[in-house]
């Protein structure tokens, strides 16, 4: 494939700085970008001259996600399997990052959402900063948190992952660090100094890299109103077995002690696609006990079922309402949680009934870290 200017690479001896370069679209990952990134990561793993990979975004955002509008357009123009090809590449890239033998440092300026989270959180070092904004907003779009979110969100403390994934809540840099989605926090003004220092050090030793980042790090204070202080309530409510029980637990909390945060939380659950909520919750629950590979294989089944559109077309409706027509008024179908049966939810987790379709094939790895393994 011809090199693209949507992904730039700066070479500095043994360090490769990958720049996501589609600033007008907030660096949303196009098919072209995902293909290029996959190519680069595969090549760098083999290349003895590469020791360290730095990832960053051009402009205001790190990356606002996968270019979903383009995917929907592709599907509309023909076969949903074009979309499947996009997600297959993206998820393989996520797996590669999660099991990579060389360190990846992601500098998370601005927006880190959806696919952007997938392209950074799986890596070894995730550096949040003052203007970082993290979110997995897929349930509002009729999709579900993919790109391995069922792995990394389900491993945040308590049931914070369910909360973040179901509501699409936005986290700032301090919150990202607190819940472990970020490994470091470096103030905005020091971020380029850190980048220079890493290039200068020219090393692939994770301990040295860690020490260098630590030198520029500071401990951010959580805002007084931070949702991270709501962990107890989140645990009480989001640990529940079903989405319905989660909402009713939240409503009970609201009866006792109504405030903006509870109201917002309930509101965002009620606005989200009922099908999305149900499949997302189950995905987190399964993901909690699985390795990252299994998570991605499952999510691939799910995303293909979503695109196939047999059981719900919420994804297309969500994209229409939020990205194309921008009326922000999606008409979900099924419209209520109680209309989404267990049978329907099950369909998203089984292999597709389609002769040309097959499960996600993860790239073979020579060195599988133990967190990537889970037996089921």
């Amino acid at each position: 494939m011809a090199p693209t200017n949507q992904v730039l690479v700066n070479e500095s001896s043994n360090v490769r700085t990958i720049v996501l370069n589609r600033p007008k679209q907030l660096n949303a990952l196009s098919h072209e970008m995902v293909s290029r990134l996959l190519e680069l990561f595969l090549a760098y793993e083999e290349d003895p001259n590469v020791k360290l990979i730095i990832m960053k975004g051009e402009g205001r955002a790190f990356c606002a996600g996968g270019d979903v509008a383009a995917v929907v357009n592709d599907i509309k123009n023909g076969n949903w399997k074009l979309g499947a090809d996009f997600f297959s590449k993206e998820f393989r890239l996520n797996y590669l990052m999660a099991t990579y033998t060389k360190p990846q440092v992601s500098l998370l300026r601005g927006i880190v959402m959806g696919g952007g989270a997938g392209a950074s959180i799986h890596g070894r070092f995730r550096v949040a900063t003052d203007n970082s904004v993290f979110a997995m907003p897929e349930t509002a779009l009729g999709l579900f948190p993919d790109v391995g979110a069922s792995y990394y969100l389900s491993r945040t403390p308590g049931f914070f992952g369910e909360y973040v994934g179901l509501t699409g809540a936005r986290l700032d840099g301090a919150e990202m660090l607190a819940c472990g989605l970020a490994t470091h926090f470096v103030p905005l003004e020091k971020l380029s100094l850190l980048e220079d220092a890493l290039c200068k050090a020219n090393t692939g030793d994770p301990n040295i890299i860690n020490n260098i980042i630590n030198e520029y790090s500071s401990t951010p204070k959580l805002k007084e109103t931070s949702q991270y202080f709501r962990l107890k309530t989140i645990e009480r409510c989001f640990s529940r077995r079903t989405v319905e029980e989660i909402i009713s637990a939240l409503e009970k909390e609201a009866d006792k002690n109504m405030d903006d945060w509870i109201a917002w939380t309930i509101e965002s659950l009620k606005k989200a696609s009922p099908t999305s909520l149900k499949i997302s919750l189950r995905s987190f629950r399964e993901g909690r006990l699985q390795g990252v590979g299994q998570c991605l294989i499952r999510e691939y089944r799910m995303v293909c079922t979503v695109m196939q559109g047999k059981f719900s077309r919420d994804f297309f409706e969500g994209c229409r309402a939020l990205l194309l027509d921008k009326d922000k008024n999606p008409k979900w179908e099924p419209s209520k949680l109680e209309f989404v049966s267990d049978y329907m939810v099950d369909r998203y987790f089984t292999a597709l009934d389609d002769n040309d379709w097959e499960d996600l094939k993860l790239p073979a790895r020579s060195n599988l870290p133990s967190y990537a393994i889970s037996k089921l």
Partner: protein
């Protein structure tokens, strides 16, 4: 000496390799031994591992996973990072008192997440399955947690439910569900355990105040091992002889309060601690004495018998034996959970030891060659793989027991009793034996508490004797089989039930010259297991009648001297039952890879039973020649199962977090940098 030279050679090789590395700039430091995850080195699963997991976990596997996930997410369950993975498990280095408090806190956490909501409301067999699933899943984390919960919900709650009537349900269900009332179950005494009918606590009725008066008349009557009594329980079920107007009406159950809402022990009750135990220290076992404790008349659990306000004893079941049996029958649920928990624990042991054996190497076959994986040694395969196949067989049997329990009818009481006795004994023995083998198979790593396998032995040892001593249970099976046989003979009708119908057919013929392929046929396996059961039952009948012919009157005495054959028969019955349930499961699986594997494991199970149980040779079901064929088949089966070992332990369905560091990257988990 050769050996020594050989080792020296290996060591010096290590040293020279390291030196070479230092001169080579392209290579970073290479540790001597790298952890290789078996997922990378083992063949891909030949069958659908998820499907097999659904079969052995049964219809509630999603609920199990939900509970696993709840436990994994709470800091109360002590998450620890080892080698890049999070493991949870109690801190057994804490004092007994601290362990008890942690157990209680974990229960409160589960309660607060709504895990017990609707405990008594969920109806039908699905409700039963759900309750079992809760108890079993928490036991995977810690036996103490499972037992503490089991005492409260299954023993205390079960007694209220099954032995009590509406007035008890209305009063106790709700506070039990919320733990406002913490229940315990005072049956066992210092002087009487398995023999419940011999307990000495006495309860008399005082018509003038309409109260019962409970008395511990002597030291041997003190209630003993009462889980929950030492620290937390506020109420207890008391088992006691009921004496009405000087007449003993046999054992009955009462509800008594033993602590007030502030946790102070009530007047006329004395409580002491059972002290530190070899395991299960998260359960506060206590001893209780009753000093003429008065309780209201309504506190008699009156499902089968009642006492009227004026002190008349009323019951619909006149025969005290039948009354007692009807009374205790619903409590069989204890054995169902014990059997299932024994299997889960066995799974933890095997998954850990087999995963370790797929990444740990020892000794080279040829100098300078890599050392050999433990599980590539035929002897190591022989130690672990038959236990793995047997575990699958016993899991199917445990599921069968659960199903006949939850779908029980008055007619099936006897079957449930016999099957639960048999499987409780066989499964718990299998659990202990497997844990011991797994602990040895892990070498020194097996004795580290954080690696579970060794420690679980002491945590689970108690299961061999509680809810019925295993040896006593095995003898009870033979007694029940004898009774069935004699009853059928007396009625001159074919024998029915307990799977004994094969006795009505002519005795199966065993081929005089066994071959490997015969050993693997369902026909042969069924034939020889049936032959053994049938012959032993006939021998037992003959031996008992010989004693009777000699003039021995006491049946109990006869049973006490015929224990040898009774035990052989008990085993024969259990093995045949297990094979039958295995075949039933197999029949539900369509032809394909999974069915092939199930067939292979069945062959392993039956072959190993024949190899290990002396009765096949002792009574001549196998000739010495055939026994040799059986023995030769074992290593063959082991090598055929070997490629499936990883997939088979994956299907056991224990989440990684509940296994141990040695099951994964044990090099990194032990690295100096991880201290």
């Amino acid at each position: 000496m050769d050996r020594v030279n050989f080792r020296t050679q290996i060591i010096s090789n290590h040293l020279t390799t390291t030196q070479n590395n230092n001169n080579n700039h392209n290579l970073t430091t290479l540790p001597c031994i790298n952890y290789q995850p078996p997922e990378l080195t083992e063949p891909r699963p030949y069958f659908d591992t998820l499907l097999l997991r659904e079969i052995i976990d049964g219809p509630m596997f999603k609920n199990n996973d939900y509970l696993f996930s709840l436990m994994k997410q709470s800091t109360l369950f002590c998450p620890r990072n080892r080698g890049g993975k999070v493991f949870i498990g109690p801190d057994y280095n804490k004092s007994m008192e601290e362990q008890r408090e942690m157990t209680m806190k974990r229960i409160e956490y589960l309660r607060d997440q709504g895990v017990f909501d609707g405990w008594f409301d969920k109806e039908g067999y699905e409700g039963d399955l759900w309750r079992f699933s809760v108890a079993e899943s928490v036991s995977v984390f810690d036996h103490s947690l499972g037992i503490k919960l089991g005492v409260h919900f299954f023993l205390w709650g079960g007694a209220i439910r099954f032995m009590g009537t509406k007035r008890h349900h209305d009063k106790w269900y709700k506070p039990t569900e919320t733990y406002e009332v913490k229940g315990c179950f005072a049956m066992t005494e210092l002087g009487h355990g398995s023999n419940v009918r011999g307990i000495e606590t006495i309860t008399r009725y005082d018509a003038s105040t309409q109260e019962f008066v409970i008395l511990t008349p002597c030291e041997s009557a003190q209630k003993y091992w009462i889980g929950g009594a030492a620290n937390h329980a506020t109420h207890t079920i008391v088992f006691s002889q009921l004496e009405i107007n000087g007449v003993n009406q046999g054992v009955h159950a009462f509800v008594a309060q033993i602590r007030d809402e502030n946790g102070n022990i009530c007047p006329n009750v004395r409580i002491a601690d059972c002290g530190h135990k070899i395991g299960l220290n998260g359960v506060d076992n206590g001893r209780i004495w009753f000093d003429n404790l008065r309780i209201p008349r309504e506190n008699l659990l009156n499902s089968v018998a009642d006492v009227s306000p004026d002190g008349q004893y009323l019951t619909a079941i006149k025969d005290p034996d039948q009354r007692f049996a009807a009374f205790l029958a619903p409590l069989t649920s204890g054995r169902v959970t014990i059997a299932a928990s024994a299997m889960n624990t066995t799974k933890i042991g095997l998954a850990t030891a087999i995963r370790y054996s797929l990444s740990r190497r020892a000794f080279s076959m040829v100098p300078n060659e890599p050392e050999v994986l433990l599980l590539d040694y035929p002897s190591h395969q022989r130690r672990l793989l038959p236990l793995l196949a047997k575990t699958y067989a016993l899991c199917f049997a445990s599921n069968h027991l659960k199903m006949i329990y939850v779908k029980r009818t008055p007619e099936s009481t006897k079957t449930v009793h016999v099957v639960s006795s048999a499987l409780k004994a066989v499964l718990t023995w299998h659990c202990m034996r497997t844990l011991q083998e797994c602990r040895e198979a892990c070498g020194g790593q097996g004795i580290k508490t954080e690696n579970h396998v060794g420690h679980l032995k002491s945590e689970y040892d108690v299961q061999l004797t509680f809810e019925g001593d295993n040896n006593v249970l095995m003898q009870q099976i033979s007694k029940a089989l004898l009774a069935e046989f004699l009853a059928a003979k007396k009625r001159n009708k074919p024998i029915k039930g307990l799977g004994l119908e094969h006795l009505n057919k002519p005795a199966p013929i065993i081929p005089s010259q066994l071959t490997s392929s015969t050993l693997r046929t369902t026909q042969f396996q069924t034939d020889i297991f049936c032959l053994r059961e049938r012959d032993l039952l006939h021998r037992f009948v003959t031996e008992v009648s010989q004693y009777q012919a000699q003039g021995e009157k006491s049946k109990e005495h006869i049973f006490s001297v015929t224990y040898q054959i009774a035990e052989d028969l008990g085993r024969a019955f259990s093995d045949r039952l297990i094979l039958q349930t295995y075949l039933d499961v197999e029949a539900t699986v369509p032809a394909g890879p999974l069915k092939d594997i199930l067939g292979l494991m069945r062959a392993m199970y039956t072959t190993i039973v024949m190899e290990e149980d002396a009765s096949f040779l002792r009574y001549g079901y196998l000739s010495t020649d055939n026994a040799a064929v059986v023995r030769k088949e074992v290593p063959k089966l082991c090598s055929e199962l070997r490629p499936h070992a990883l997939a088979l332990v994956s299907s056991l369905g224990i989440p990684d977090a509940f296994l141990a560091p040695i099951a994964f990257n044990w090099v990194e988990a032990n690295a100096y940098s991880s201290i």
